[in-house]
Symmetry: C2
């Protein structure tokens, strides 16, 4: 699996040969979170993303009904090329499937949202340790009291991911991630977790806790779970997202997202 | 005029004491292009901006009917605080006014779009010469054959502004402007104008021609005239823009837009 190109990996997914998480696969290529909403909700969600670019960095937005996205990769079909989809009705998870062709409608608009895998790739390339990767875990994620800027029916607080680092490494990470506004950009906070409404780092709201050394500070990034949380709260009649960790793997190189 | 704060300048504009161009005023502060569309056109235009961030970098988007924008500055009222407005009906310029209070409607959505003044400020601070400023002219702007990514009823080609520079200065300008994605970002082209469909640099489509020295290359930036040109082509029933050069002066520092 590890040696497949993004296109080959998507073919395996489409034909049902692979349905696992995509973390670590097609190394070096952009993976995207996805949210699909009906046209009657899409304009407000687009505005929400425009107003909250750190939590909801848009890589692409489809036309209504469009399921092919050639600008993101050869032959990409959003209905079949993700290894897992979640179906939400009125804000409730009602189904988890590997193919949404039967659910497709002409009024559906797809939002492809940048993901932390891309900046982690750049941090690792710079020689920084990413704790949850070293420890073989999912990144720890936390609800915060940081308000998102509301747009229409969408509002809520930011979800953040956390990576512990020595201050000098945190400084380097801030520099590197600032180059990647399309994948959450620079961190939003470091140090005192209670300042952003997090009271126990050992109990993340999503993902796994990781160890933090005495000489390290927690560094917090806006997280792609935010849009999913906000959509769930807004309770649209119908919504499809990727299953956690089951991302769209594109043909775009992570390095192509660097703004500098 | 030169020494007024953005707030003081807006008060002069609102009370009719100033109705001139804003170039060079409230130095150091972000000025914005503006386009106002009815809600029935706004969602498609928002998508157009998302897909063409270099030509249409959004600084803020209002709610329908919202004319106060406190996040951009103290007491900002979009109906009165620009020194000139253009009214378009079905794509045709029908009026030019200094106050749009009487035209305001609850379905109007305002788009505030970054402007080159902000990055020129950063280039000057870095010691670079901006030719049209040295020569006391408007920046030369050209239609190109570079296609914008269409969205709904909005499509067209990019308009660019041009500043001649020695190659070493152009390289420095590329570095500096890359830090400012909210105000057009890095240039889109340099050198051979015919490669992007410009056949006579001495005849700009908008603004004034400037001198180019033997050892200089023309450097081209995506220009905020693009969204106006695209809107005019799409012919919405009703649209308001700022009058050329008569921008919204905000309380945001140009330096606050730097991504790095």
């Amino acid at each position: 699996m590890n040696s497949l190109s993004p296109y080959q990996l998507r073919q395996q997914i489409r034909t049902g040969l692979f349905s696992g998480q995509t973390s670590g696969l097609a190394s070096g290529y952009v993976q995207c979170n996805m949210a699909i909403l009906s046209q009657s909700w899409a304009a407000e969600f687009l505005l929400f993303c425009q107003r909250n670019p750190k939590a909801c960095p848009l890589v692409a937005v489809s036309e209504p009904g469009q399921f092919l996205l050639p600008e993101l990769g050869k032959d990409i079909d959003l209905r079949t090329d993700l290894p897992g989809y979640r179906i939400f009705r009125h804000g409730k998870l009602t189904d988890e499937v590997q193919n949404i062709s039967a659910l497709w409608r002409q009024d559906l608009v797809s939002f492809l949202i940048g993901c932390s895998f891309s900046f982690e790739d750049a941090l690792i390339a710079a020689g920084l340790e990413i704790r949850h990767i070293s420890e073989g875990k999912n990144v720890p994620m936390y609800n915060t009291n940081l308000p998102c800027v509301p747009a229409g029916r969408f509002s809520g607080t930011m979800v953040v991911s956390m990576r512990p680092m020595k201050p000098a490494d945190a400084i380097r990470a801030i520099q590197i991630c600032s180059r990647f506004p399309a994948v959450h950009g620079a961190p939003v906070h470091f140090g005192a977790p209670e300042a952003i409404g997090i009271f126990d780092l050992r109990s993340p709201d999503y993902g796994d806790a990781v160890s933090i050394q005495q000489d390290e500070v927690p560094v917090f990034w806006a997280c792609g779970v935010t849009p999913q949380a906000v959509i769930t709260q807004a309770k649209p009649e119908f919504c499809i997202t990727h299953s956690p960790g089951h991302m769209l793997v594109t043909d775009l190189l992570n390095t192509s997202l660097a703004s500098f």
